[in-house]
Structure formats: C-alpha cells, structure tokens
Subunit: 579 residues, 2 copies
C-alpha cells in the first residue's frame, strides 16, 4: 500500500523534508531525554521514524511535548550543514553510542563519513536534507512503539517514534484525513464489526472466515469462475504438499525455501506449496500436447502458505495462508499478444464490477541477467507494448525491472482514500518451461518449447478482501453483500407479515434477514447500519396494510414506502447488473 505516486520532484522534496524532520526529532529527544541513545531515523513512504535506545517507552504526553519542541526548532530555521570527518574523528564523536559505532563499522572503507548539523545538534548521516529546518512546513508525530535494533528480535528493543512531515499544511491535513479515514475503514475493525472474520493465536496470521465473510469469499471465487467460463479458462485442483524436489526442479527452492513450511516425512523433505505454478507445470506435462490444444489456461484456487515473520503480518493484508485467483496460460510465442490482451480485458471487466475504475499499468522490461534468447525477449516485449499502446492504456515503462524469466505488466489501482495498491500482474515465463521440459508438437511435427504466462487479477483473495473492505468502507455491493436486506418489524403485530415478505424475497434467491428481537426500531436500524446491510425494510401497521415496506438505505437515505414487488425487482436488478 502507498499513497498514489507523487511526481518524482515532489517525491524527492518530501523525502528530504522527512529525513530532515527525523533529525529535528532526534535533536529534541536528546534534549528532553539526555540518556537517550540515537540509532537510525530514515524517511519512509509517507513520513519518517527514529529509533531511540531509552529505558522507558515514550508516552502519548511525551510525543506531544516532543512535537511542540520540534516546531520551535523548525521555527528557528537552522540550516543543515554537512561535513566530512575522518573515521577516527567519527569514532571519537560517537564513542558512547554502540549503535552508531556499529553503523560506522558498516560504512565501506572507500566511502566518506559525513555528519550533518542543524543548530547545535549533529548526527552521523549520509545526507539528503532540505536546506534549513524552516522548509519543514508541517510535521506531526503519530505514534510510538517498540522495535528491535536492526529488526532482529535477538537484538535490544528500541523505542521507535513515527511521524510525518510535508511541504505544506494542506498536504499534511489531507494526509492526516486519509489516515483517519483509513482508521475508520480499517478492515480488521470492520471484519469484527460485520462478523466477517477474526484471527486466533492458535493459527497466527491465518484468518478464520465467519459465515458472512465466507459468503463474500466464495461469491468472489464464483464471480471469477464465471469470468473464467467466458474467457476460456479451465480450473484444476492440485495438491498442497509436495516433495521439495518439485521446487528444486522449478528453482524456487534456492530462492524461496526460507518462506516455505517444510517437514520430514518418510525420511524425505516435503513442503507446503507457496505458489501454484509448479503444479500447473506438472499438469501441463501430464500428457502430450499438440499446438491444436493451445492456448491452455489453467486456473487454480489452491490454498497457499507462505511463512511471514509475525512482525510483518497485518490483518488480511499480509497473511500466511491465502488463495489467489491464479492461472497459468501455456501458449505459443505467437499467442502471447492475444493472451495478454484478453487477460487485460477480463481484468478491466472485473475491476469495473469491483469498483476500481482507474488502473495504472507498469511494464517491466528485460533485466541484465535473464534467461531466454534476445529474439524471444524482443518479440515478447513488443507484444506487451503493443497491447498497452493499442488500447491506449496509461502505463509506465520500467526498463531493467522485469524478472529474470520474462517481462511483465503489473496493475495498480487507487482506492477511495487515495492509496495505491498493486492487484493484478501478468508475467511471461521463459524459465519454467525449460526447467520442466514443457513442449508441444507444432504443426510441422517438431517439438517446440511452450511459453508460460503467470497471471492474477486480484492476487491473494485474502489481501484483496482487505483492500476492498477498506475501499468500500465495508459497503459491499448488493450482489455480494452477505445480507442484502433486513426486515424490521416495528411491533410484534408486524412480525408475521415480515415473515411473508422474507419468504417471498428468499424465494427469489435474495439473502434477507428478519430482526424479530425485542429491541426498538432505532436500535435495529443502527445494528443493520453497523452491519452495512444495503436495505432496511421497516414495517409498521401502515406498511402492512398497504402491502409495502418503508425502505431505508445504509447511507441513511429514506426511499419511503415501496411495494414488495418493486423493492424485489430493484434488488434483483442490482444483483444482475453488479450495481
């Protein structure tokens, strides 16, 4: 996740502002906490942090005091002054600070050692500041938390202060508003509130989907399956546990084993699959293939497991157990263009339905080290470029950024509060067909190497659900909302009538609940709103007599009394059109 990219010049300015703000933070902390030892304080995507070795965690009050003093320091508009120092002098300057000494040791002999000062404060630093503190037009400390030195839990625990800093008060206000919105939309909160999913320490970073979350998950799979039917994909089911020989063949073993769950069975090493591609290769290789069969498009909703350190897992966004809308296309080199074009068409169709209208494409071209002939790369890159240009798709070209096994296009979307997410990808692979010896009999009877294409639209469905819930603020569209409408009888007299309406709507395939609890109407409506149920159908005596329901929407809109058939048609229409 990241804010939508700023232009490079602004991005550079922001990075320097934040690096500078970290210096000011360090200045103030050693002033207020003389025993604090400085360690590192880099700029980040949207702000900065600084890690301090202190005896006590920082309190919210500490942060307020620190922030106030930072503003003062900034107000003095100290210039940042860099100076080169000898190693000996540098060691002398930081001799009381084992962390800085360690950093110093890590600086290669042939690199200069620089310190940077503003006012009376000076810190070991590589540079990258604004000219003076006054250019930090806005700064805000956000939070503090523990963090291990160098991120390693065997090292001492430090205290990290997170902040953000901007080129204008407006930019910061916008960012802080986005943070607030992000907090309000936090999928972990909504997941609990809407009874979608939860986590339990007995299976770290692996969601338990409750019935409503399961409905959404399954409906999403079903939706993608529907697309697969129309776009000519075939689905397969492949095992989850393999002898690690599989990944020795695929080449993943060397690069990825650290992220895999492995075990010893019958004196051989097995692993839980972290990706579907090698299994797709096994399926392709399971029978002799003719050019007539190509392209073969194999989709696999297999569950994948990837070990992530507990420090980096985050709700559904980064989990250890996931399902991808994963498919592998096997085709001839000539078919690459058509396949990528059709894939992008399907992806666009799905993003539109899912409420992501704007897509940024990033085309990554050949890196220095690669497999496959230049001829193959030429034609593949040309095919990808042509697909993007023919449809006039806004895209960035990133030379050298392709994988060693082939060029790729990644798809990014902005969400409702301006953050950008990578969802889709389409990657050509000239390597796996070599490793698994995958070929087809060409029209002339010769054996030819097949091309493999990895592609996903939504990526990990768990992560997508996390992104989507935050994008929608939990307001799932009607077609996939686990409960589409709730009937709210005002008195007990109206319950029977509500049951009839519920039965009618259910018979049409709608997912309708009846809230016949003893609570008051307003409490029931509030409950339904927290559950983000699209339609609240309120029934009092008047509605009952008129054969209607009073319709309220989750956004608070009041549609007044509607005839049962009218509301039924309205909802069914929304389902059909993915409204």
């Amino acid at each position: 996740m990241a804010l939508k990219q700023a232009d490079p010049e602004l991005a550079d300015l922001r990075s320097r502002i934040r690096h500078s703000a970290a210096h000011v933070l360090a200045e103030v902390v050693v002033e207020l906490f003389p025993d604090a030892k400085l360690t590192i304080g880099p700029p980040t995507q949207d702000g900065f942090y600084y890690d301090f070795a202190v005896d006590e965690p920082f309190t919210p009050d500490d942060l307020k005091r620190i922030e106030k003093r930072m503003r003062k320091s900034i107000g003095r508009n100290h210039p940042f002054v860099e100076r080169e120092v000898s190693r000996k002098e540098a060691v002398e300057l930081v001799k009381d600070n084992p962390f800085k000494l360690e950093i110093l040791e890590g600086i290669p002999e042939d690199e200069d050692v620089t310190f940077c000062a503003h006012g009376e404060f000076e810190d070991l630093c590589r540079g990258g500041h604004v000219e003076s503190t006054g250019q930090i037009k806005a700064v805000k400390l956000l939070s503090a938390s523990g963090a291990y030195w160098r991120g390693d839990e065997k090292n001492p625990m430090l205290q990290r202060i997170y902040g953000t800093a901007w080129e204008s008060k407006e930019a910061q206000a916008e960012y802080l508003h986005m943070l607030e919105e992000a907090d309000r939309r936090d999928h972990r909160k909504l997941g609990r509130q809407m009874n979608l999913f939860f986590f339990d320490p007995v299976s770290p970073a692996s969601p338990f989907f409750l019935p409503k979350g399961t409905y959404v998950f399954n409906r999403l799979v079903e939706y993608v399956r529907g697309l697969y039917g129309r776009y000519g994909y075939d689905e397969v089911i492949t095992p989850e546990l393999f002898l690690t020989d599989l990944w020795k063949t695929s080449g993943h073993y060397e690069a990825y084993i650290e992220n895999m769950y492995t075990m010893e069975v019958d004196e051989r090493e097995y692993g839980v699959k972290p990706m579907n591609c090698p299994a797709a290769a096994i399926i392709y290789a399971s029978s002799l293939r003719s050019y007539r069969e190509l392209p073969i498009r194999l989709a696999d909703f297999g569950r994948l497991h990837r070990y992530e350190r507990s420090g980096v897992t985050h709700g559904l966004m980064r989990v250890r157990s996931m399902v991808q809308d994963d498919a592998h296309i096997f085709c001839t080199p000539d078919q690459i263009g058509d396949e990528v074009r059709d894939f992008i068409a399907m992806l666009q169709e799905s993003y539109k339905v899912l409420g992501f209208e704007e897509i940024r494409y990033a085309l990554s071209l050949r890196p220095e080290n690669r497999v496959g002939s230049d001829e193959l790369w030429d034609s593949a890159e040309a095919a990808l470029t042509e697909v993007l240009e023919a449809s006039d798709l806004k895209h960035d070209v990133e030379p050298g950024e392709g994988a060693f096994y082939g060029p790729k296009i990644d798809m990014f979307v902005p969400d409702a509060i301006g953050r950008e997410w990578q969802l889709g990808t389409v990657q050509l692979d000239f390597n796996m067909p070599e490793r698994f010896d995958l070929d087809y009999v060409a029209e002339d009877g010769s054996k030819q190497r097949v091309v493999m294409i990895h592609r996903a639209m939504l990526g990990s469905l768990e992560r997508f659900l996390g992104v989507w819930i935050e994008h929608l603020a939990g307001n799932f569209p009607v077609w996939i909302a686990p409960v589409q409408a709730v009937l709210v009888p005002i008195t007990d007299r109206n319950v029977e009538y509500c049951r009839g309406v519920q039965a009618q709507l259910k018979a049409s395939g709608l997912r309708v609940e009846l809230d016949d609890s003893n609570e008051r109407m307003n409490a029931k409506i509030r409950k339904a709103q927290l559950q983000k149920i699209p339609y609240m159908l309120v029934v009092g005596d008047r509605e009952q007599e008129g054969g209607t329901v009073a319709v309220r929407l989750r956004n608070g809109d009041d549609l007044g009394a509607l005839d049962i058939n009218e509301i039924e048609e309205r909802i069914l229409n929304e389902v059909q059109t993915y409204a």
Copy 2:
C-alpha cells in the same frame, strides 16, 4: 469396501471354508516348493491368503499349477483333524521354521497350542475349519505379490498368494463376476481414460484433478452447498496450519499425531489439520452464544491432510489429501433429535440424487469407557433410536461400539456391483465442548454446556468420487457430467451448422463440445463413449437440412433425429431434475 454382509451363519461358514482353503494352499505349496517356509494364512473378508518364505516370487503359471493340485486335494475330501500338543512338542515340530517359532512364542502361556491336519499335511493353527476339504465347493487363486513378514518393511519380504473360496460354484462365479466388473469400473483407470485426475510421485497419494475432474468435484461441492442453504447450514473457512496446542486441547494430539504432518516454525510445533472439528470449536468460542442462536450449523470444506503409509493408499479411495462435506452442529441436548432427523432427511435426499437408494444405518451405543453423564447418554441414545424408529429406517444396533465421546449412526450403501461402502456418519460429541469449554447462555441466564454433533454425508469427497465413479462405471448423471453432449459433424460441410447448435446449447448453460477433428464419425463416437459423454449429437446433411441432430446415447441407444429445441429441453430437464 466389502461385499454386502451375508447373514452371520453363512458368513461363519465362508470364513471356515476360506481358512480351510488356506490350509490346502499351504499343503500344495510345500509339496511343489519343498524349500518354502510357511508363515501365516488367514481368511479375509472375501477370501484368504497365505504368506510363504520362498526364494522366487510365484509366477502366474505357478498359481495355475497350485490351484489344480488344490482341487485334487479337495477332491480327496480329507477331514480336518485338530490336536493339542505340548509347547515342547510344538517347538520340535516347527524347529526349522523361524516364522512359526516366532508365532509360537507369541501364544500366551495359558493358551493351548493346537495343530490341524488334513491328509498328510499339518500346520500350527488356532482352528476354525470346515469338517473336510470336500466342503470347499469352489476355490480360485487370484494373484500373488510380495508382503513383509508382520507387515513391517524392516522384516523379510515374503510371497503372498491371494485366493477365494465359496460354499458353491454359483456364489464364486458371482463373486468373480463382481471382481471383473470392479476391474472394468476401476476409478483409477476411468480417471485417466476420462481425463478426470491423475497422480504424480512428487505428491504421493494426492490427486491432481484435471479440468473435467475439477468440474465434477466443484459441482458436487456446489450441490452440497445448495442443500446447506435449504437445511440452514452456514459455511466457514478455517486455517489449515495450527500450533499443535490446538490438538492438545482437543485431545487428538495423543491419539492422532502419528497421522499428522507436523513441523517446527519459530521454535514451536505446527501441524497441518487432519480434521475440521477443533477449528469449528474455535469459531463457536469466538463469541458469546445465546440459546436463541442455537442450533448453529457450521460447514467447512477445508482441505485435510492425513499421513497414510504408501502401502495402504489406493487411488482416490485412500489419499493423504482430502476435502470432506464436513459440518458441526452446536445445539442444546433437547435439539439432538431434531438435528439428527433433519440431517438424515438431507442425507437421504442427497443419496437419492447421487444414485444410492438403499441405506443401512448402524447405531453405535455407549462403550464401557466414556465421558458424559449417564443421563446425557440415556437421552442421546433415546433420541437417535427414536429418529431411526420413527422413520422406520432399517438399522443395526451395536451396543458398546459408540465412541468414548458419544453415540453415533453410520450410513452404509451398496454399490451397483454389490459392495458396501460407509459414506455418512452422525456422531454426538460430549467431549470436545468440555475440552474447549463451549457453552451458551440459557433462557434462565445460566451457562450451559453445548452439545456438538459431527456429521458428514459423503465423507471425503475424494473417496466418494472414487466410490461414485465405480458405482456409475463413469457414467456421471447429466447434471454433473463435465461434458453433457458432443456434436459430431459427419463431413466438413456440417461443421458450421454444428457450431450454431453448440452456441445455442451453450447459451442455455449446457456443457457442449464439438468434435471437428479429422477422424471418422465412428472413431469420434467411440471416443465420446470412452469419455462417457451422455449425448452424442451426430449431424450429416440430412440433419442439417431438417434443423435436427441424430441423437445417440452413451449406452448405445439411438434416439433418431430430434429437433434442436427438443434435445435442448430434454437435457435441461434432466439437469433440473437431477435425472
């Protein structure tokens, strides 16, 4: 799998006939292969075997010779004569045979040692013969294969001869016919032939489902989901990897760890789940439950992994990786009867659709060692009994056979060739709610222990598919057949017309292929029959002119020319009615 049960008397006779036949087999083998050492030779469900220590494996010709001589020996009608011998004498009798010596050592001191003779042959034996060899009215040797002494691969390899023997030639003929049929229906053969699934050594005993097999698998899940919708089940998705703490809580750790895949992660032991129940308990426990919410029925199609030794795995019938149509019901003790009754109704509905009309129920009652109060057992057993009796369901009662945690009902069905399979089960569980401390707030505000019910209709879907394919001989009903019809143009002139028909049928949601290969019509029809495609729609000039297709069924029936709309309606109707 087993043949349908014979009545106890006949079953006992057959067992004695087969035990006797094993003796005759041993007699002949030592006669023909004087160096052969005898080991053990028990009767089995449908026959018998004998394991011999010999230098060379038996050839098919050996089996013929042996069988011929066995018939001779049987013709002599030797009486079986048992005699008790002292241990000393016994040791003397088998002193050249280390296997028999080992068996002898294993006989408890307070047990008699007996030998049994017929003609000049005598063998150490516990007894259980017919009176004389002449009562073996039919015998047939079936196969030979290697087998480790005592089933342990660290022991010497022996050679096992399998045979069968019966009380009449007719009974044996029927059985041999069944074996032939079973071979013809072998799901492993049909799985390859019909492109449903295959196995690969890189993931032992774990099927790869090809697109057609995946279609059937997913359609089956969808069918069960449809039932769940109507019978008030909620589906959940739970993790697959857990800290083994989970199974320490559930109690499975002690009993089941040998069959689990476990690994070390972050210095803690994790396991891959072999069953869904503990995860269901975690979900139940994830919020405070009120009696108003009960019953809660949680279905989970989670993938399970169970370690099985490679010697016992068998096609889809016994795999290491499976999905069950598994659900857990949480209810009050009072709700047990209704829940079991509704479950059986759903099970009956599904078995009917799937082509298993006859069901045998086996009710297992309290064992000696158990948890839960007698009061709870009384009412639970009464509830199960009442359900079975109220619906007049044919059932066996098996006192003492219940699990320690509760009584259960198992469901058995006979397949098309007379073998009986256990598919369904419903098991009450008084233990897991204790271990996970699962309760609900009763109407009076008190906390009450909830009852947990494990239930499955089809059991492992992989295994069910294996059983089902053999039951159907691959002839999936139209509603689930991966390809419902294939269009067979007789000449190239007819291809275009066929495409139109295909488009029309596909638009109605039917799964229709077009065979526009260069093969002759008869070859195309043969191919379609091997694929067990329900409808072959043949199109020549005459059909094309008349707007019809000539309809052939996979069983060879010829329906003649039918109007397109007519055949479309026919197939759609079969889909709708699960015909």
